[in-house]
């Protein structure tokens, strides 16, 4: 029996030296697989919408306008041959609309190119700002990603979220679990001083309960962070995969008088959510990781919180000293970490929705106007 008890203790102490955090990360291929340039990668596909490059989108959109021009040409030919003035008048009215479509497409893609430069500029501003508020000597370890295609910006946001958000939260979740385990074990530690079962018994570490509660709350925050960042990443995946279709459908529907307003609505949705929404999220995601890089915030590792760490170092003073302060500090960092991202998400949504309303007005789509129910629905969802 004694041998068995000793064997268990030895097993506990040896095993505690291991550090499992290095495996609790998502692989580096996660984001490139999430936003494939084309075809099926990690089960994700964009081949239906041809998303990936602005050039691809531009080509398809212009092809649709060309088809509409051809159809209008045929209608005009019929009108001329049959001497039907109404058909000719219809064609004359519709040709300028298609020309407007071409101008609109050019404006959209010029805007995209401009947005790429603007994003990099804003991101650099953020980086400089963070450097100035820190010691000033910290070199930026995370440079803004040059935006040359749609895919770049989506992958850049995903990488920020996954590498600096989800993976960090998963590491911290492991640390938190280890700390919770250590605290729980300490809390149940009981000393019995009762010969013949008459005397006193006491649990000296039961006072760590507030910290234990804090740990549980912190674990909930890590869960929320993983959920939020993963959720937004997959929302971006759907926007990336599906919304280019709205551009094609929008251009096609805008070419006919009956469906012109519906087409305008689709184009407004595309511009607001496919271009502007990620463009607004990107600086926030970059700013977040720059905060961590420039201020040199360390999230620590689980070794210090393991049973081995507790036993090898100062098990009792450790919980009351540095480890506890690190835990509280880590909690505050986690909250701010999640809050900044949430703030960025809310701002990006509000701006994108307001822009969608304005574009809806501009393109003659009453459904998207400010105060319209579709607009209100999206706002309420968010």
């Amino acid at each position: 029996m004694r041998n068995l008890a000793l064997a268990v203790l030895v097993f506990l102490v040896i095993g505690a030296s291991a550090n499992a955090s290095s495996i609790l990360n998502l692989p580096a291929s996660f984001c490139p697989g999430m936003f494939p340039s084309n075809g099926l990668t990690n089960g994700m596909t964009t081949s239906f919408s041809a998303a990936g490059t602005y050039t691809g989108l531009l080509g398809i959109a212009l092809l649709i306008v060309l088809m509409v021009f051809s159809a209008l040409g045929i209608v005009y030919a019929f009108g001329y041959a049959l001497n039907m003035e109404s058909l000719k008048a219809f064609t004359r009215t519709e040709v300028p609309e298609s020309v407007f479509n071409v101008i609109l497409i050019c404006l959209v893609f010029s805007g995209v190119a401009f947005a790429g430069g603007a994003i990099a500029f804003v991101a650099n501003l953020g980086l400089v700002g963070i450097e100035s508020i820190s010691s000033g000597s910290a070199a930026p370890t995370i440079a803004p990603v040059p935006i040359t295609s749609t895919r770049d910006i989506y992958i850049a946001i995903c990488s920020s979220y996954i590498d600096h958000g989800v993976n960090v939260a998963l590491d911290n979740l492991l640390t938190t679990s280890l700390t919770a385990f250590t605290l729980k074990s300490l809390m149940t530690f009981k000393v019995n001083m009762a010969p013949s079962w008459f005397g006193v018994s006491f649990q000296p570490f039961m006072g760590t309960m507030p910290i234990s509660n804090l740990i549980a709350m912190q674990a909930g925050m890590f869960d929320a962070m993983v959920g939020l960042l993963i959720g937004v990443t997959f929302m971006l995946y759907l926007i990336y995969s599906i919304f280019p279709l709205f551009l094609y459908v929008g251009v096609l529907l805008r070419s006919f008088p009956w469906t012109r307003s519906a087409g305008g609505a689709f184009i407004a949705l595309f511009i607001s959510f496919y271009i502007i929404f990620p463009a607004l999220l990107y600086p926030f995601s970059l700013y977040m990781q720059n905060v961590y890089a420039a201020l040199g915030v360390s999230t620590g590792g689980p070794a210090g919180f393991s049973l081995y760490g507790m036993l090898a170092a100062a098990p009792l003073s450790g919980m009351a000293g540095d480890a506890m302060l690190a835990e509280i500090s880590g909690f505050a960092q986690t909250v701010s970490y999640t809050a900044i991202q949430f703030l960025g998400l809310v701002i990006a949504f509000v701006v994108a929705l307001d822009l969608m309303g304005s574009l809806g007005d501009l393109l003659g789509a009453p459904s998207l106007s400010s105060g319209a129910h579709a607009n209100m629905l999206l706002k309420r969802v968010i």
């Binding site: 506990l12 081949s47 679990s177 008459f198």
Partner: protein, 346 residues
């Protein structure tokens, strides 16, 4: 016999609506053209130039309506005859379950299969989450009873130290509980979608038939336009959106389910739990780092797609259909905002 014919007509109205409403619309159009032609003749005899001009304009409008009917007839034939299964399958947007030969190739069948498959995936995920929580509770706590040990060795009672090592923190199970709650709550919306989608074929048949017939008559023209917009929105745009959005979600879920819903599932869950237990970590790691990361990636991707499909996609689909119906109905008839009620409810 009449009852049988009526029943057959009603069934056909739902399964192949254009076969029924196309002749009805054409008969109505011809009847009205006949009436207008008589008015035209009478106006000639009566010497009423204004009535003659009005009749002529109305006949042109009816002919235009007939063209519209022909266009929608072509759309209906396309919807029922086109191989949507092949189309979505060729671009990798068809989940494995919908590739089965028993699933028809029309738009409605493919959309129903997609949403049904997604709901099945959510139920599986709920079961998996529950299974993970259940597995966690099977990890035993280790109780060190020093008092009993001293008593056993020295025969002195009531002196010693006790401790209990609880390897799985309570928040793990709390979190899994919240997850199941959220998923089941959001699953209701998914079921509502399934019901709406199940009715989309009927809505398409009904609204389109009413709309096309009503659009022929002068006084009900704007009402007819609204019905056409509603029929096109709920009967065509909505199933198409479901095929696309849930196609993306389902295919991703299929692929990632293959990673973690396999024979290694229980092994992987054990690894995850064990890695959270400090005194076992490193000592017992059944899977390699790369395999574990791939598994974790599969799990989080599966959960992420489930979250997107439960929370983001339904609202996106509803909003897009609403946008289409509002704008299209305003262009060809009275403005219809069917989501107004739902918006207020939300």
């Amino acid at each position: 016999m009449i009852q049988g014919i009526m029943l057959q007509t009603v069934t056909q109205f739902v399964t192949s609506p254009y076969i029924i409403w196309f002749p009805i619309v054409m008969i109505a159009a011809l009847a009205i053209i006949g009436v207008l032609a008589m008015m035209y003749m009478l106006s000639t005899f009566a010497g009423r130039g204004d009535l003659r001009a009005w009749s002529r304009v109305k006949i042109y409008e009816i002919l235009l309506s007939v063209v519209l009917v022909l266009l929608f007839f072509a759309l209906a034939v396309t919807l029922f005859g086109f191989d949507f299964k092949g189309l979505f399958g060729s671009v990798g947007l068809l989940p494995t379950a919908c590739k089965d030969a028993s699933v028809a190739t029309d738009l409605f069948s493919v959309a129903m299969c997609n949403l049904h498959q997604f709901n099945n995936n959510i139920l599986t995920l709920n079961f998996m989450t529950y299974y993970a929580g259940l597995s966690a509770t099977f990890v035993p706590s280790l109780k060190i009873n020093g008092t009993a040990l001293i008593e056993h060795l020295t025969l002195i009672q009531g002196i010693g130290v006790d401790d209990t090592l609880v390897p799985i923190p309570a928040f793990v199970n709390n979190f899994l509980g919240y997850l199941i709650d959220i998923m089941y709550s959001a699953y209701v919306l998914s079921q509502v979608q399934l019901l709406l989608l199940g009715a989309s074929l009927l809505l398409f048949s009904l609204f389109m038939a009413i709309g096309l017939i009503a659009r022929i008559f002068v006084i009900t023209r704007s009402f007819g336009g609204s019905m056409i917009a509603l029929g096109a929105g709920l009967g065509v745009v909505y199933p198409l959106l479901v095929c696309m959005t849930y196609g993306y979600v389902n295919v991703g879920m299929d692929y990632n389910a293959g990673i973690f819903v396999t024979s290694t599932m229980s092994l992987a869950i054990t690894t995850l739990i064990v890695s959270m237990v400090p005194f076992f970590s490193g000592a017992v790691l059944p899977m390699g780092v790369a395999a574990f990361q791939q598994w974790l990636s599969g799990v989080l991707t599966y959960f992420g797609l489930a979250a997107a499909g439960l929370l983001f996609v339904p609202f996106l689909n509803f909003a897009i259909v609403d946008v289409f119906v509002i704008d299209f109905s305003k262009a060809i008839g009275e403005k219809v905002d069917f989501m107004k009620l739902l918006t207020n409810v939300i």
